[in-house]
Symmetry: D3
Subunit: 323 residues, 6 copies
């Protein structure tokens, strides 16, 4: 069943609250701090049963100089710099196995699939990147780690990692730095939006059923995890709602969207309780660059699934021709 506002209202829906006054400053200083450390890129060829692609195990330094792992997959025998797709994983997932996620490289892109630090033990795709930073008392999961302080918040680290991942991608010989796109679904879509708001010159942005958008609304309109980690935390730490909502405002996709300029493709499922449609439309409607939205009226959080993939490939196909 439809789980949110009627489609007419969604098409117009906008979040009422703006970004915190020091939002840009917060991210500038966060990124500046990260950039005080070298990217420290390490790349190692991996032997796999896949004969059509080359796979490399990539490590770069993200937030705090902590190593973050990724797979780089390229069509075997490709010559000349390729357009690149940097992909961020859904909640609980990591970069996965070398045998997973063959589509982008098979379609001709350099594909960099990034870990989410600390994640990758709860979904279908494993992760291999620790998060060496601890946290104050938190609800099980990642949403409330350090949530009372923007500087200590888990997702600050993840966003910095995402930006550094794009920077890493642009350094590969195999990659044309002018043709780098960011993609992801759910949490990955939220991180793609964050990168869109923080990185200049992206060639495209794909945010499928993005998470981490209009979070202050999300926590009141759905019981589904992982958004529900936040009200569960506040159900115990009842007097801390102000601090918590303030922290969340620094990583809200609505605010990143308002700062983005690259062409973007969004998708949304009108039956999605995990990332309720109004939160996705709030980000889409705030998006400052060229944009399009695929609406799936009868889908939940799986969204358009393989149709989203097909549309994403078509959306970024011009990059293959050097556009």
């Amino acid at each position: 069943m439809h789980v949110d506002l009627p489609l007419d209202s969604l098409l117009e829906y906008r979040a009422a609250t703006g970004a915190p006054a020091d939002f840009d400053e917060f991210w500038e200083s966060s990124l500046a701090e990260a950039r005080t450390r070298p990217l420290g890129l390490r790349v190692a060829k991996v032997d796999t049963p896949v004969r059509t692609l080359d796979v490399h195990d990539v490590v770069f330094n993200g937030y705090g100089g902590h190593p973050v792992r990724a797979w780089l997959k390229t069509p075997r025998g490709a010559d000349g710099p390729l357009p690149a797709v940097v992909e961020f994983p859904g909640y609980g997932n990591g970069r996965g196995d070398v045998l997973e996620g063959l589509e982008w490289a098979s379609a001709g892109f350099a594909h960099l699939s990034i870990d989410a630090r600390g994640q990758g033990a709860a979904g279908s795709r494993a992760g291999a990147t620790p998060d060496p930073v601890g946290s104050a008392a938190a609800f099980p999961g990642f949403m409330t780690r350090g949530i009372e302080d923007p500087a200590a918040y888990y997702y600050r680290r993840l966003v910095v990692d995402a930006v550094r991942a794009v920077e890493a991608a642009r350094t590969f010989d195999a990659v044309d730095p002018a043709r780098v796109a960011v993609v992801g679904g759910s949490q990955g879509g939220g991180l793609a939006l964050a990168a869109a708001g923080l990185v200049d010159g992206l060639a495209g942005v794909v945010a499928c059923v993005p998470f981490l958008c209009h979070i202050d609304r999300a926590v009141t309109v759905t019981d589904a995890h992982p958004y529900a980690e936040i009200p569960r935390y506040l159900a115990v730490h009842r007097t801390r709602a102000g601090a918590v909502l303030r922290t969340l405002s620094y990583i809200d996709g609505v605010h990143f969207a308002a700062r983005a300029g690259a062409p973007a493709l969004f998708t949304v499922g009108l039956m999605d309780p995990v990332c309720p449609p109004s939160t996705v439309f709030a980000a889409h409607n705030a998006y400052a660059g060229p944009k399009d939205m695929l609406v799936w009226p009868y889908n939940a959080h799986e969204g358009g699934g393989v149709e989203d993939l097909r549309a994403s490939l078509a959306f970024l196909a011009p990059l293959l021709d050097g556009k």
Copy 2:
């Protein structure tokens, strides 16, 4: 939690009941009837965004001469006949989209991904093959369609389709008919076992967490669907248990296993309520050819997932070298 017998018992577990006396005759005549009709192979190149593989839309005539669809994927530019993998889908799924299931062809195999007639609207992968045969009153799903008569039973048609799929695979120029393997998970694993019992000269069999094994036990030890469709039917048609169990005995993987000779790889999850471990071990322990079993102690019906894929690729890798 572990959902069945202790591992010690599983390793020795065997089904008590044998195949019906006319089991072989039933399948011989079923296949003979199907072979009275031409395979009627139709193959059409499909344009896809995937640059590393060639994809063809395949139609062949299965049971009753009814058209069955499949995708044939091959590594682009491969020369000479390839080893082939014929894959059958899990319950509710079909051959899927051309963008799904790139692994086998990317690893160098000709990959024929077959529809299950009438299915492909309930899982993650769509199907495009009708089942033009109706049925007597049935519980929603496919398990009880025509279940009171072996000749009218839905799975008779699916098994014949599976055998004809192997026969179709062997006719392709791109395929070396001596190097054809059958693979599948869940229902696909059950169909792989059926093919293993009915087709000579297979080069390998992979049955991951196979369904349709020791069914008379399965319906008493799990509430999970789709096995549960059978007790749900019998809960209404209370006096028909004899006819129903007799019909099921003709498609039980335990009996196909006892007639198979090709090297086989099984996998099983000890926490799998969908295909309880004792039913998988019953098939494995009855398997007449060389065999191996991957046991995943902490997995449910997802079984070994990408590890099963990795092991399957390794198991069939010698075929790539012409072995």
Copy 3:
């Protein structure tokens, strides 16, 4: 809890979308085709423990000339033609056992209880009528069989069967053809509305908590099965919503209601998630003949239960006196 609009809104609620332009033509030709075949009525006395009623096993030819089974129950020793009640079953049910459903005949009516082809293995009442027609890939259940083509759709067959059942009832010696009513609950109510829209001269219509009304809305406001079979299908076949909704418009009770003239009794439960109240009111409010609605504020899909039966008996009681 109340699961839909407030009662005030329900009382006024009307579906926005009209019938397809060729709705009447579709049904005229469907019925004309069916009538090219003889009814082929077969009636056999059944020996039962019930001493107050006579029971006959009835077979007539429905859609495609396919045999459809029914029970005919009459008060033992009744003389002269009786008013008749033709009853259609709820989803998953069939005509049931001869020991079930004694009420109408015990109250003096000739009672014809019809099977729903292919159903009768999932509810409390068994069925004995096959559906010999297969279908394209479908979600488990009956709602999506042939759903992309009105001509191939399962419910087209069921509606034709329903009309033919009324025609069969009118041929019995024991029945006064001028005093035939149609009744049913849930799917049976939907079929009663279909008969009301397609058959002239009915003496009454009872549609308790009717299913198959304002279906395009139903699939967006409830997760409950069987309506949910449709979004589950569309969740896989994402691009086929247009064709699916078009097919459904041919069997929507709202459109049959707008063409009906016989006096009708509706019932509805305001806590019914299976047949949400707005969909029932949409049919009631569109109903073109005399009509009444029993509203049960605290009931779910059981509706008025035995109170609905009592009201139905009272509503049709005048027929017993020859009115």
Copy 4:
């Protein structure tokens, strides 16, 4: 799935614990006390739409002289005393509506359908009999009312009511007191067993999926309500298990069975979590009279449903011929 011991073990299964030493004395004095009050039978003809049966509203004095309601249904125009079936309701139900439960009278029996005091507001059939006796702190439901004292226990009253109901049935002109049977399903089956153990000269006993048997085991092998009311009570009143189990031993069907002599028909569902099979077999195997058991391997608490009814009618059919 099968929810209890394997069938082989069930066939031999016997409860280890015997009745309390003063079991017979307890019931003799309970009944003697009840019989100090007149039955106080009141019978009023009821006007119903059912033309084949006569229905009377019956009130008799049960435990404590409290009025208990019942429906008496007889075939219209029956002459001479009839065999009678006294039926007790399932948990949460009452005698229901005059339009419900037409089968026994339609088959030629005088049918007395009894209320369970205080119940009849939670199932499908309403009740109209108050229980004027209060209780100590109890878990919601009826199982723990007065449970720490056999004399104050709710089911003591219900059993006395059941015995008095048989005595009332025998006083009707329309009933042959030598041909009175007791029947019931679930709680009704438990009460039928109680009557079987306490009333002489019954012509038959039908206990379908009986409740209230081998209760000390039941509360450890199922989570299903209503048995679960007892462990839920003991989860709060942790130190009272001794008193509670002692009280329950006075109303355990196993002990009534051991005192019964009339021919009995039991039924059981091997997938029934509500009345686990071992508890039903414990009563059956202890039953001292002639007995039979219908085993439904694929049914839950619905047991044999209409097949149980058919078998019950056949089992008691000889009474119709005066046997």
Copy 5:
């Protein structure tokens, strides 16, 4: 997720229906009747491991002169009359164990923790008070006992008990009768509101997430128990809604609130499906005395938990200083 109206609407929300015309008369006569019997106070010192408090087992006569149990806890060695807090339990609970509920007395109050007759076997705190009054057919639980008649209704007895509890508290030497407050959560909050409306001169009222408010709305906006007992009853006794709603209007906290004068503290959880926020606001907004409301946006029925306790202690702290 938020389960009711938006906060803006809640702040203004008022119930549309007023109290029955004879509401005051009903309670005056109910209390007058109760007061024809002596309070019959019995107080016994209890030996406990708690060294900082004195605990007494208290019995007083409530409705019908029936004994009601309570614990009286006082700070050991306190001299002079203390302010008292009379606490009523949540649904299913009783006064609990002497080791539970030490907070109020530890904070300096005389604390009288009252049983709810018949309850105390379903929550975490046991009860020891029988309800010697039986009832007509009822849904399991307490909500529908005697619900068709205000005079026979269970909650009439509970409200009378609550008033008598306050009267009992005022008779203790250790208690200053001018400084008696009533407190409770959920059902206990509903009873506190009842006492607030019926007892003069209370020094304070604390109603945390109160139950039994705007009940006619509650039963349509939540499925959660115990409110759901009422629609479940009406789902069977379909024609009795008028009588049922009338009875409930006599115990509705909205009407008690409109008659109260003592300063009150309410709390509410915006995610509380058990006592939906609009029903709590309806009582708060109708409350005739000074009042405050703690709104917990991210809490369900646990409300403010220990924060509610802290606020309650602060709210009543002035009483400790003799104010």
Copy 6:
């Protein structure tokens, strides 16, 4: 229902696997490392509404010298050193609020209620202690943080904190270091057992429904969280079971029990799916000191609740008299 072996078997049940060879060495070095840092005790009086107790906010340095918070509650005005109870929290909980957990101090003990680092945002009692240590990819929750390496494992830190808490308790003036007991329920019980195995001279140990015992079995016999975090992790990291089980063997309560000497009280619920009875009996039966077990046959993970508290107070009461 009973969720594990029959009681007869439980009474004899012993884990088959022993502690790792370097178990003692592992803990000796872990504790030695911690003791290289000062306890760094900070104690601050807290102003609370509780007049019978004094409450202090305590911070001490635990594992890695990280600060750990606790409440110290003592009976107001107590003179001379008191026996002390060091209490560890259940999973997801912290030391709670100053208004919670008044029982031990009210009964005359010095009560030190310890935080579990990083926890205290998911249960009913909040925590205020960060865990500054990060981890590799983990399943949401605490069970799998660092689980592939005993040295990096989360519970290593928690056990060291527990030992240091006892050492801190012994330094208070208000505490007699010879009369210190450790208590806890669930995770707290597991930590109490750990302290029992690692700390000399404890005066008593109370482990109610202890968690973290015979973990290798627990993960195969229950689906309940938090044990289920481990198989959920292994379901993704399929090849790491060996490392994971090895790590868990270092914190298994069975091995701590085998090294303990202080008198111990265990409790267990036979219906507890969270800490299955066989895992609790395995620890009890291995316990090397004097021991007793309270068995609650009808309780789940709430165990004996207030009865466990009463028994614990009685068990430790002799300490109040200086014994």
